[in-house]
Amino acid sequence: MGAVARAAMSLVVRNLQRAVPLRRARLREKVQAVRRALGVQRFDLGVVCVDNRKIQQINRIYRDKNTPTDVLSFPFHENLKAGEIPQPDFPDDYNLGDIFLGVEYIFQHCKENEDYYDILTVTATHGLCHLLGFTHSTEAEWQKVGAIPCPQHTHTGGIAAQGPRNRGCTIFPLQSSMKTKWRNALK
């Protein structure tokens, strides 16, 4: 496959739910910006928007957690080192995998002063990082990325604590300068 075709690999957006009205084109635009910022626009990516019932079902099947959550990632390439961009030998392997966005869950936990599509984008980015091998285990891994904001909602299975800021996030927050760099990259 030539370089032109590789550059045009697809972002597929699917909306399987009716709980939350969704602007597909707006979500696509935001996720495309994320792909460019991470340098993975050559890779196919699936973003599937589902409701609480569906994401709870997937969470139960694949993580043995019978609760809805905000995002679940299914990587195409396994065992990637954190932040490693795959170097496939075959055109069909230019694929990162699929991200399931629990859009209903995200909407329900979105605060009034928060932009829903910004939160969707941040959550999708978080899922994308998992497709690139990132986990939550070490601060070093997050610092390697340098520009991944901490979503306010955990995807480890639920909200650990109530309150406006502390929602059980188990990953490390960015420094403010890194958050600015990230927001600029998304514009």
Partner: protein, 278 residues
Amino acid sequence: MLPLLRCVPRVLGTAVAGIRAAAPSLPLLQPASRPCARPFGLLSVRAGSVQLPGLLRPWGPCGCGCGCGGLHTEGDKAFVEFLNDEIKEEKKIQKYKSLPKMSGGWELEVNGTEAKLVRKVAGEKVTVTFNINNSIPPAYDGEEEPSEGQKVEEQEPELTSTPNFVVEVVKDGSNKALVLDCHYPEDEIGQEEEDQSDVFSIKEVSFQSTGDSDWKDTNYTLSTDSLDWGLYDHLMDFLADRGVDNTFADELVELSTALEHQEYITFLEDLKGFVKSQ
């Protein structure tokens, strides 16, 4: 047909065992090889006067005495009884006695198997048309054995009607309609897991003149098979803004399934009446 059947008693009269009626196109009308006690000309066609076994009954007036002039065979009688039971069962499982309403202010017009949903919003008229004929995907037999404790009947999925539907959008004062042909995914009935398809998809888009009743093949038709995904998402958002979203698509399935079931029951009743000729 009439002359052929009139020949049958003559064949009976030969009293040869195993003689079959010379009516290869009527396999059910096979008289038994009984010797006929009376000359042919005196054979009566009144009920009970001629001992014809099997499914043959005399040609009109009807041997059962109803006087309808139609053919009433034992097969017809069994058919009518079957239809009676079928109609009763179908009415018992009928989910909606009247057609369900669509949310969002859609007006429904039904013409036989074709239904139209119309909505006027902010200077635009949106019409969604679908036909329930051939709208139920084929059911596939499950390959898995029933799980322990699960009855076989519970595995049978409900039949749902998922018709293709056409959305026409016309702006006030314009004679141009944007027409979008939409389909439901072609999944096997009952398959719910691992489903990552949109609730519905746009297959083709075209402009048509509102004055023309027939589809113009000479107008450019955009196929979404190889369409830029960004453009596709804009088209889906366009439809959603006009009330054709996932909620609408789900409700359309309910409406179409109810209409199809209603038409099926009506058809069975008409069929019963036709076979009975009453």
